[in-house]
Symmetry: C2
Subunit: 219 residues, 2 copies
Amino acid sequence: MKQKGKQTVNDPAYNTRIAIIEDDDTIRDGYAYLIGNEPGFEIVGTYSSFEQAEQQIAATQPDVILLDVQLPGIRGVDAIPQLKKAAPGVHVLVLTVYESEEVIFTALRNGASGYLTKNISSGKIIESVIDVMNGGGSMSSGIARLVMKSFQKNPASPLSKRETQVLDMVAEGKSRNKIAAELIIDVETVKTHIKNIYYKLNVNSKDEAIKVARESKYI
Amino acid sequence: MKQKGKQTVNDPAYNTRIAIIEDDDTIRDGYAYLIGNEPGFEIVGTYSSFEQAEQQIAATQPDVILLDVQLPGIRGVDAIPQLKKAAPGVHVLVLTVYESEEVIFTALRNGASGYLTKNISSGKIIESVIDVMNGGGSMSSGIARLVMKSFQKNPASPLSKRETQVLDMVAEGKSRNKIAAELIIDVETVKTHIKNIYYKLNVNSKDEAIKVARESKYI
DNA sequence: ATCCATATCCCCCTATCCGGGGGATGTTTG
DNA sequence: CAAACATCCCCCGGATAGGGGGATATGGAT
């Protein structure tokens, strides 16, 4: 229902207030034009850099910010915390041309409400804005694929089921005793599993094993 | 480009072959009707349970499976690995009425290509099918929100920046020495940070701290 | 039938780590 | 200025980790 002391989103007379931070003039003006002409949406500010935007954002308190990742100065996704501080409750929709995992996950960690590739139509952007205004999230399909892939394990892991389970627990900081207790097996068995894990991963310490296994998505 | 020995997806004469596993007759037949009448899409099988579907899926090798989470017998999301084994390369789109975090993350871990709530239009389902056929992913906005939220930390953490950083490393199985080396500070400092973390979280061991911090999304 | 991977358990050893206790000092920030 | 933060110092005893050497039983692949 989302109120913020103004009117509700569901009020047909209420315009969703949108700010755009994007350094490419053509793209910025294009978005502004397309979205500004859409009934129910209002562009309350367009900026070509974060530094330029910060003050104004605090003053205008938009509902949604369309944020380019490539900006002169600070990287767009790194500016998200400051933008949310300047306009608490604002929904940040990140726009990008590249699908870089590092950038995507930084954006998500920083509290972006959506992550869209720029090759989408303005209709899709409007749809995403509506989604996030209703408390949802929004991701283009390429981004969604990467995010979903990050949850999956490598099916070609050299580790057995039990070994994976043990290494999972090791990676959570649990001691051999704790692991043995939880799996209801002897500490010696846990030890053997760990020995075999080290052998298979060609390492000889906990954190090497965790590092290697994480990199290869074995755990 | 995705070939599978048949024709390419981009061939306008090729029909995307879809199977539906859904125990509610009305819903199943409804989807089958709506999707079957869509040009470019073909329903190659409808099943009311996983057990019933498994054999046929292996024989028909559909491109996409629409899978209900609530099934008699095995839970839909738990059947995903077997479905992918029966039809390697198949894209599984999970359909649900509830947005349960546990079920969502199980689906993602098991390699679902999409996760949709049932209140969406058949047009949206078609869109999602196209997205996954092109190698993308697809999530309804409520699901996307939950997934994105899972990446975020609690902004109200009692831990300082440095403490969070240290606990992060502790949670990765690193020893105090290793942490000290990586942060280029003394082991004693790391120890002090850990002491303070334990005090703040009201615990007195590594794995308690990790558990509490994980539950509250401090790390 | 045999071999290999898996899973379970047993014993030895030493160096390191962990948790708990007591402090101190400088900087940042509200 | 006080509180939070980040840094470093000392002492102690028990637990843990890693490396070495085994054994036994099951189940699947050849």
